[in-house]
């Protein structure tokens, strides 16, 4: 009998608590404003970005959103976009697809952003794709080179900016054929779509490796794991190592190689993702002797090339609006994406909608001004951005300059399928005055 | 007053009163035997007197200073030492270390050494086994070790809980002899809790008989031994 009574009370408690739970959930998250496009008011446009601000992948990338915001602040102070000021909501996803999913929910449903811009990470962007598509939210200039995002059927609202990892691998393969023929090359890569994309590219151009070393994202901070990379490199007898990982992986590999006495014995070739010298320098001060002389792939100008008009202008904005941040490749990436976003928003007209924004990029995106050396490929049928790389050598002071000498940029361009790797000179639109787009 | 005074003393175990309204006194230098069957509350009484468990009401004092509300480790420093039930030694330590524990808090290291020497005189078997683990000692040896450790603290009041428990009659006799010797030699006041009434009362000055936590009677031990009714009801022979 006692049992009977207490369970009855239990049921009641459950009932009350359940109702209370949903009653609390039922409070509307935010009032609707159904008459104008989501995220746009007469004075503001709200954009959102997800990036790792914490965790293993954060160092370096955590500077990107603040650089972008600095650029937007600069534009806002100079009249904004058609009279509207750009607000950027920054969310940390710790490089976790799960967290990316939940903060993207927040950006779209709670913060109600107009569009996403520069969201970072291959797996992270994949995880959120379904929802972003369903909601028709434009996702501009994703900070990843996963070739899949160029698929306009599967990711209709997503615009790639970086050349794909597939293209990058092809370009590096072409460069290896060109300058490192007959060398014994090893490859370290992140064991997910990021690395698998690259493997496919290397396969396409027929690059041969004496060792392929995959690593799970995040495991690079474990010294024992890195110890294993190094023993694998040594046992394979490689004299050249291509590293296709994030900055912390580059730092860990160089640190580990230094420890194993490989300084001067192995030529390092760093993929664009983990090749920012200043980030690596801060992550692994001991790796500096190895960084010196390493070759890095890049599609933007060298961050220390003040002779470049874009770089010079961005450096100015950085000093003024991004207090305390040292100017590096991450800052350059953030501001460059910001500049492209401003042009896209301008192109979308005085009463922008999500549909108009995407149509505007399809129509005129290929003519936008940006710091990248390769042309932009956006059109109605393609969402591929840049398509080529140049190779630079990192010096002892962690600056980077083209392998053939300062200012001598040579571009290796290619495509997303079976096309050949082509060497060409650089070509890009001139920078709008003071870095303020007028399109 | 000098000596041990226990007045209207009660201790409870949760809802159950284990010791009820107990009063008795033990004069300085006397040996009191607390007699009662298993579960009579003897151990609870000692544990409350030495501060291991809280009491409920009443008074207990030693030489006029209250024993109550103090921690056992502080009472040890004021000369009240409790040797708990069941061969109170630390089996993981060796004999020497067990003895050393007795004087670990004392500043006068010379006297500690002296006291240790005295204990070894008293119980020569301990001296033979100084470096053996206490685990390897026999029951009687462990009891000697426990008492020896207590002596190194130079106690004034020694509370002994069933030193005879589980020992052979011959060994019990030895231990009780030693206790008797000690208190005459050192002027110790001893409270001896025992089920083994005969042996205890034989060496005791006074006896306190308790049953289910309450006092049955107390008085000079010779008188108690002579009382035929008590012998039949409580002393078990």
């Amino acid at each position: 009998m006692l049992v009977h009574r207490s369970t009855k009370r239990g049921v009641f408690a459950v009932a009350v608590a359940a109702v209370a739970a949903l009653a609390v959930s039922a409070l509307p998250a935010q009032a609707f404003s159904p008459h104008s496009e989501v995220g746009v008011t007469s004075t503001t446009i709200k954009l959102g970005i997800t990036v790792p601000l914490t965790g293993a992948a954060a160092p370096g990338y955590n500077k990107v959103p603040y650089a972008m915001k600095a650029y937007f602040d600069y534009v806002n102070d100079n009249g904004g976009v058609n009279g509207r000021k750009i607000q950027l909501v920054i969310k940390d996803d710790a490089y976790s697809p799960i967290l990316a999913k939940s903060v993207t929910n927040d950006l779209i449903l709670k913060d109600k952003v107009f569009a996403l811009v520069g969201t970072l990470g291959t797996a992270n962007n994949e995880a959120t794709s379904k929802f972003v598509n369903d909601k028709g939210v434009p996702r501009l200039f994703v900070n990843t080179g996963f070739s899949g995002f160029a698929n306009t059927k599967k990711y209709p609202t997503t615009y790639a900016l970086f050349p794909s990892y597939y293209m990058e691998a092809k370009a590096i393969g072409g460069y290896l054929d060109d300058k490192f023929a007959g060398k014994k090359v090893a490859l370290i890569y992140q064991d997910d779509d990021f690395g698998i994309d690259a493997l496919a590219g290397f396969n396409q151009v027929g690059t041969k490796f004496v060792a392929k070393i995959p690593y799970a994202s995040g495991s690079q901070t474990d010294p024992t794991v890195v110890g294993k990379w190094i023993t694998s490199i040594v046992t394979s007898g490689a004299d050249t190592v291509v590293l296709f990982g994030v900055s912390t992986a580059t730092a860990a590999a160089l640190g580990g190689a230094y420890k194993a006495g490989l300084a001067g014995k192995v030529q390092w070739i760093l993929g664009s993702v983990g090749a920012d010298p200043t980030t690596i320098k801060t992550l692994a001060p001991t790796a500096l002797p190895l960084l010196n002389g390493a070759i890095a792939a890049s599609f933007l100008p060298s961050a220390n090339d003040s002779a470049d008009e874009y770089v010079a202008q961005f450096q100015k904005i950085n000093t003024q609006y991004n207090k305390g941040a040292s100017f590096d490749n991450n800052v350059l990436v953030g501001m460059n994406a910001g500049m492209l976003a401003v042009q896209a928003l301008r192109a979308a007209g005085t009463s922008p909608t999500r549909a108009k924004l995407m149509a505007a990029i399809d129509a005129s995106g290929s003519k936008f001004a940006s710091a990248g050396f390769a042309p932009l490929g956006w059109s109605k049928s393609s969402h591929i951005g840049y398509n080529g790389y140049w190779f630079g050598r990192i010096a002892a002071d962690a600056t980077i300059a083209p392998v053939d000498g300062a200012g001598k940029y040579v571009l290796y361009t290619t495509d997303s399928s079976t096309g050949a790797v082509v060497k060409s000179a650089i070509a890009r639109p001139a920078m709008p005055a003071k870095g303020l787009p007028t399109n | 007053m000098s000596g041990l005074l226990v007045k209207n003393f009660s201790v409870s175990h949760g809802a159950i009163a284990a010791v009820k309204d107990l009063s008795f006194t033990v004069g300085k230098g006397e040996l009191a035997a607390i007699i009662g069957s298993n579960g009579a509350g003897k151990t609870t009484l000692l544990r409350a007197l030495s501060g291991l468990i809280p009491h409920q009401s009443g008074e207990a004092s030693w030489n006029g200073n209250s024993l109550l509300g103090k921690k056992p480790e502080d009472l040890v420093r004021s000369g009240v030492v409790h040797v708990s039930e069941g061969k109170s030694v630390i089996p993981e330590l060796n004999v020497k270390e067990n003895l050393a524990l007795g004087g670990i808090w004392r500043k006068d290291k010379k006297d500690v050494a002296l006291a240790t020497e005295e204990v070894c005189e008293l119980f020569p078997r301990l001296r033979e086994r100084l470096l053996q683990s206490a685990d390897t000692l026999s029951g009687g040896e462990r009891q000697m070790l426990a008492i020896g450790r207590a002596l190194i603290a130079r106690p004034e009041l020694l509370l002994l809980d069933e030193p005879s428990l589980g020992l052979a009659p011959l060994i019990i006799e030895q231990i009780f002899d030693a206790i008797n010797q000690l208190r005459h030699k050192l002027g110790l006041t001893v409270v001896l809790v025992e089920q083994n009434a005969m042996s205890a009362l034989k060496i005791a000055d006074i006896g306190v008989i308790i049953n289910v936590g309450s006092l049955v009677t107390s008085g000079p031990s010779q008188e108690l031994l002579a009382d035929a009714n008590l012998r039949a009801a409580y002393l078990g022979y």
Binding site: A58, T224, G227, T231, A260, L283 | I90, L101, I104, A153
Partner: protein, 298 residues
């Protein structure tokens, strides 16, 4: 050669695991609590070391600060949290797991606090010792001065502990209190105080582990989380009660991990920790050097 290299890689991580296991065992012996906050406390003390290094620019000066901080944090945790817990939650259905949950809460608290103060970014706490491996007849071994310091540091801690436990009155009191708290109290030992000192020793050992291992990686609020698991597994392998067992357990686990990583693969390492644990618990429930007190329910 590869076998030797792998062994060396395992040796220095094993030394760190051993220190962590040592800390867990010390707390277990004195309080019968597995301190799941041990790694958190080590993180906090390491951040303090980091702050000191930022001010003095000297790693060697910062390490003693970290150790003292680690000891103080641990003593504080025992004196405040564990005492309160003991007083209040000795009854009810959670009494057995209350300490586990409390230390988990503490781990979360320390993590969030360090995150608030220092941020979640990766910081550098660098040691001046070179990370470059020693060269032996033209082969660079994966064992650097940094690793040597780790091993020596761990040995020093173990040596100091062994000396204290074996030859001092404090050590005797620590051992006695952990084996038989009641008898120790009756012998006049202030067991509460001794117990807090035991925690302080544990905190110091954890702090050494944090201060030694961090220069080989990064410093962030949860950079030592995995040490907690390794430390626990090592402690159980050694038999949660034995200090020497903790050291052996740490070394076995460190070297074992290195070989698994080298010859099987990265991603199975921590699953391996689980299986090692299960196997040890079933084959030798008392660990290789555990005392007789069993770990199973009565």
């Amino acid at each position: 050669m590869l076998i030797l290299d792998t062994f060396l890689i395992g040796l220095s991580s094993g030394a760190i695991y051993a220190l962590m296991a040592l800390a867990l065992v010390l707390v277990w012996r004195s309080t019968r609590v597995v301190n799941f906050a041990q790694a958190g406390q080590a993180i906090l003390s390491t951040y303090i070391g980091y702050e000191v290094m930022n001010r003095t620019h000297n790693y060697w000066v910062s390490v003693p600060f970290a150790i003292v901080a680690g000891a103080a944090i641990a003593a504080f945790v025992d004196a405040v949290l564990m005492r309160a817990l003991e007083k209040r939650s000795h009854k009810g259905s959670v009494s057995e797991i209350a300490p586990v949950i409390a230390t988990l809460g503490l781990l979360g608290l320390i993590r969030s606090l360090t995150g608030m103060i220092w941020g979640n970014a990766y910081l550098q706490y660098t040691s001046p010792a070179s990370g470059k491996g020693y060269e032996i007849s033209h082969h660079t071994i994966p064992f650097s001065p940094q690793n040597l310091i780790i091993v020596i540091g761990a040995l020093v801690v173990m040596g100091v502990f062994a000396a204290v436990f074996k030859f001092t009155n404090l050590g005797l009191a620590l051992r006695a209190s952990s084996f038989q708290p009641e008898i120790s109290r009756l012998a006049g030992i202030r067991v509460d105080r001794i117990r807090t000192i035991g925690w302080a020793f544990a905190g110091a050992a954890g702090a050494v582990a944090g201060a030694l291992v961090t220069p080989t990686t990064y410093l962030s609020p949860n950079s030592l989380d995995l040490l907690l698991v390794s430390g626990f597994v090592a402690a159980v392998i050694g038999g949660l009660d034995s200090l020497i067992g903790a050291v052996l357990g740490g070394l076995i686990l460190g070297v074992g991990f290195a070989f698994i990583l080298q010859y099987i693969g990265t991603s199975v390492t921590f699953s391996a920790a689980f299986f090692i644990l299960i196997i040890v618990l079933f084959l030798r429930p008392r660990g290789i050097l555990g005392s007789k007190i069993g770990r199973r329910d009565a």
